[in-house]
Amino acid sequence: MKLVVLVKQVPNTTRVKLDPKTGNLIREGLESIVNPDDLHALEAALGIKEETGGTVTALSMGPPQAVDALTQAIGMGADKGILLCDRAFAGADTWATSLTLSRAIRKLGEVDLIICGHQAIDGDTAQIGPQVADWLGLAQATYVKEIEHLTPADPDKPGKPGEIIVKRRLENGVERLACQLPALVTVIKELNQPRYAHMERLITACTDKADILVWNAADIGVNTCDVGLEGSNTHVIKTFTPNFKRQKEILEGSRQEVVAELFDRLKKSDTTLSGKFQGRPS
C-alpha cells in the first residue's frame, strides 16, 4: 500500500494571546505544532502500514519551518516527507492549497490511500480533504472515526478495485461506508490514539540524513498564477476583533433586590417571555 498523509503545521491557537490595547493577535512567540487531527491521520496510516506493508509519505505545504512537522511525522514512523515550499504558494486559499497538494500527489505516482485530518485548527475549514479528492477524481470519506477493513486491489483480478470500509460520525448517528480505492479519508480524533515520536527516529529525522524533499512550483509543474494568493478566489478583506459588547448594566442591591430588578427588566423587555416575569413580589 502506498499511503500519503497530509500534515499541516499550525500555530497553537489554544494558546493565543490578544494585545489588550489593540485587540490584535500577538503572533510573536506563538509556538507551531502539527495540526492535532493530522497526528490521528498519521497514526492511522502507520497502523495500516504495519498491517499490510507499504510506505507512508507525509506531505505538507508551508514555509521552510514547516519542515518540523515532517520531522515529527518521520519521528513517528513515516518513511519520508515532502515539503511544498515556494514563495508563490503563500497566501493560498483552500482552492489553491488543494491544487498544490494534489499536483504533488500526482507526481508521487500511484497512491492507494490519502489520509488527512478532518480540519486544521487555524482555519477550521475542513475543505482541503474533499477538494484534494476532487482534483484527483477520488472517492472520499469524511469524519472517519473507525477504519474497519481494507482490501488492496488484487493484481490477479484486474478491474476489481480495492476497498476501504469505514465508519463515519454524523450528527445523529454513524454511517458505514465502502469506498473504492484509491480514496481519500479525513479523520477525527475519535479514530485512534496517536503514538509518540520515537526518540532515535526523531534525532535522525533532524539531520541531513532524513528523507525529506523540498519541492517548489516548478517541481510539481504548476503555474505560479494558479497557486498562492494569485490563484486564490477568496481574499481576506479585513480582520477585526469581534465586538460583542452589550450594555452591561450591573444590578446592585440585596439578593432579593437584584433578582427583582432583573425580572422587572425582563418583564418590560420585548421578549415573548416577559409574561413569565409578571407579578413581581413586594
Binding site: G91, D124, L177, P242, L262
Partner: protein, 402 residues
C-alpha cells in the same frame, strides 16, 4: 511580486498597516516597512495617499459576471426530513436577494421528496430546483456533487449557500472545486456590499471566525462565481413568507452507479443524548462556578420554571457532568435563545462564540471583572448558589406561571 515602500514619502499615517489583512506592514522609526508576513496582495498600494507604496503586481482582471444571478440555498434533507439549516439559510438568502434585487432558489435532491417543496416555499424559496432520482435516495458525495455542478453550470447563480453540517461540509468543498469557485466555511455573518475594487459591483461579504475564534475575518470572492459559503446550524434565522407561489423546476439527472465509487452499508441512528439546546427559547448555562451535579440540579429547576433548557461550558463536559450535546461554544453548539442566563461562566471567547446571538444575556458571577459581563445586558455580581435559589423562589411565588 514585491511591494516597495518609499521611506522618504511615508509620513507614518498607518493607513496601509490598518488595511493589511496579513500584518504585512509594521511601523518602524515612524515609517512603514514590509514584514515577512506580506503576501503581496496589494491592499496597501491603493490606500496610500502619498503614493509611497508601489508594486509590480498586475491587477487581476475581474471577469464579467453579469450572467450570474440569484441566491441559491442547498436544501439538505435526510429520509425526507429537511434540515433546519436549509430553512434558516433561506431566511438569510431573502435578505441578500432583496439587497441584490434578485430571487431566491432552493436546490432539493433525493427520491420522492417533492412533498418538501411547500415547506421550502413558505420559508422563502421563489424557485425550487427539484432533482429526483433513485441514486439520490441517500446522500453520496460524488452523486450529489455531480448534480450540483451541472445545475450551477447551467443556471449560473451568483451566490450558493450550504449548511455547515456533516453532509454540507462533505459536499460544499467538492462543488466549489468543480465549479472553480472560492468557498468560505462557517460564516457567522453574510451581507451584500459594494466592492470598490470592482467599480461598485455588489459582492457578498462573508465574515467568519479565524484563529480559534480569537479574531474575525471578512472574506470576499471577487474572481469567481458562485460566491459560496457554508453556515453552521442555528446561526441564521428562519422567516415565513406569505403569498407563497414558488416555481418548481424538475430536473432529471444523468447519474451512473459506476461513477459514484461509494456504497452505504449501514446507517445507525444514535439519537443525541439530552434535548436540543439549539431550539430552546430560554437557556440556563452553567460553568465551573457551579458546584457539581447538585449545582446543576439547581440550575435545572430554574430552567424548568422558565420552560428552558440546561447548557454548559466545555470544562463541564470535560468533567463529565453534562453531555457534549449541551456544550455551547466554538466547539459546541451555537444557540440563539431569547434569554441566556450564564451562571458561573467566565465568558472565554470560545464560549461567547456560541451564544452571542442570544437576544438577552444575563450573567451571574462572583468576579466583577469576568469578561462575560461585557457581553451581558444585565449582570449580577454574586454567588450563583445564592442568586439562583432566590430567582427560583421569586418565580415560584407567582401564580401566573405557565
Amino acid at each position: 511580486m514585491t511591494i516597495w515602500i518609499d521611506q522618504d514619502n511615508c509620513d507614518g499615517c498607518k493607513r496601509c498597516q490598518r488595511v493589511c489583512p496579513y500584518e504585512g506592514i509594521a511601523l518602524m522609526d515612524g515609517v512603514a516597512r514590509v514584514t515577512d508576513r506580506c503576501t503581496s496582495c496589494g491592499a496597501c498600494v491603493e490606500v496610500c495617499k502619498n503614493e509611497a507604496i508601489t508594486s509590480d503586481i498586475t491587477p487581476r482582471a475581474v471577469p464579467d459576471f453579469s450572467e450570474h444571478k440569484g441566491v441559491w440555498v442547498f436544501a439538505e434533507q435526510t429520509d425526507g426530513v429537511l434540515a433546519d439549516v436549509g430553512l434558516e439559510l433561506l431566511g438569510k438568502a431573502r435578505e441578500l436577494a432583496r439587497d441584490l434585487n434578485e430571487t431566491v432558489s432552493a436546490v432539493l435532491m433525493g427520491q420522492d421528496v417533492a412533498g418538501l417543496c411547500d415547506t421550502l416555499a413558505v420559508h422563502g424559496a421563489d424557485t425550487i430546483y427539484l432533482v429526483q432520482d433513485p441514486l439520490l435516495k441517500e446522500y453520496r458525495t460524488i452523486a450529489h456533487a455531480n448534480v450540483m455542478e451541472t445545475l450551477v453550470n447551467n443556471y449560473k447563480p451568483s451566490i450558493l449557500l450550504i449548511g455547515a453540517t456533516a453532509l454540507g461540509r462533505d459536499l460544499a468543498p467538492r462543488v466549489s472545486r468543480r465549479v472553480g469557485s472560492g468557498l468560505t466555511a462557517d460564516c457567522t455573518e453574510l451581507s451584500i456590499d459594494v466592492d470598490e475594487n470592482t467599480e461598485g459591483s455588489k459582492i457578498l461579504w462573508q465574515t467568519r471566525p479565524a484563529f480559534g475564534g480569537n479574531i474575525m475575518a471578512t472574506i470576499a470572492n471577487r474572481y469567481s462565481r458562485p460566491q459560496m459559503a457554508t453556515v453552521r446550524p442555528g446561526v441564521m434565522e428562519k422567516t415565513i413568507v406569505e403569498n407563497v407561489n414558488a416555481e418548481i423546476i424538475r430536473i432529471s439527472p444523468t447519474l451512473n452507479e459506476g461513477d459514484i465509487k461509494t456504497r452505504i452499508l449501514e446507517r445507525v441512528k444514535e439519537l443525541p443524548k439530552g434535548t436540543d439546546i439549539t431550539q430552546a427559547n430560554v437557556i440556563v448555562a452553567g460553568g465551573r462556578g457551579i458546584k457539581g451535579k447538585e449545582g446543576f440540579e439547581m440550575l435545572g429547576k430554574l430552567a424548568a420554571l422558565l420552560g428552558g433548557e440546561l447548557a454548559c461550558t466545555r470544562l463541564i463536559v470535560e468533567q463529565g457532568i453534562m453531555a457534549q450535546g449541551s456544550q455551547v461554544g466554538q466547539t459546541g453548539k451555537t444557540v440563539r435563545p431569547e434569554i441566556y442566563i450564564a451562571c458561573g461562566i467566565s465568558g472565554a471567547i470560545q464560549h461567547r462564540a456560541g451564544m452571542m446571538g442570544s437576544r438577552y444575556i444575563i450573567a451571574i458571577n462572583t468576579d466583577p471583572g469576568a469578561p462575560i459581563f461585557d457581553v451581558a445586558n444585565w449582570g449580577i455580581v454574586g454567588d450563583v448558589h445564592e442568586i439562583v435559589p432566590e430567582m427560583i423562589a421569586q418565580l415560584s411565588q407567582k401564580g401566573s406561571l405557565s
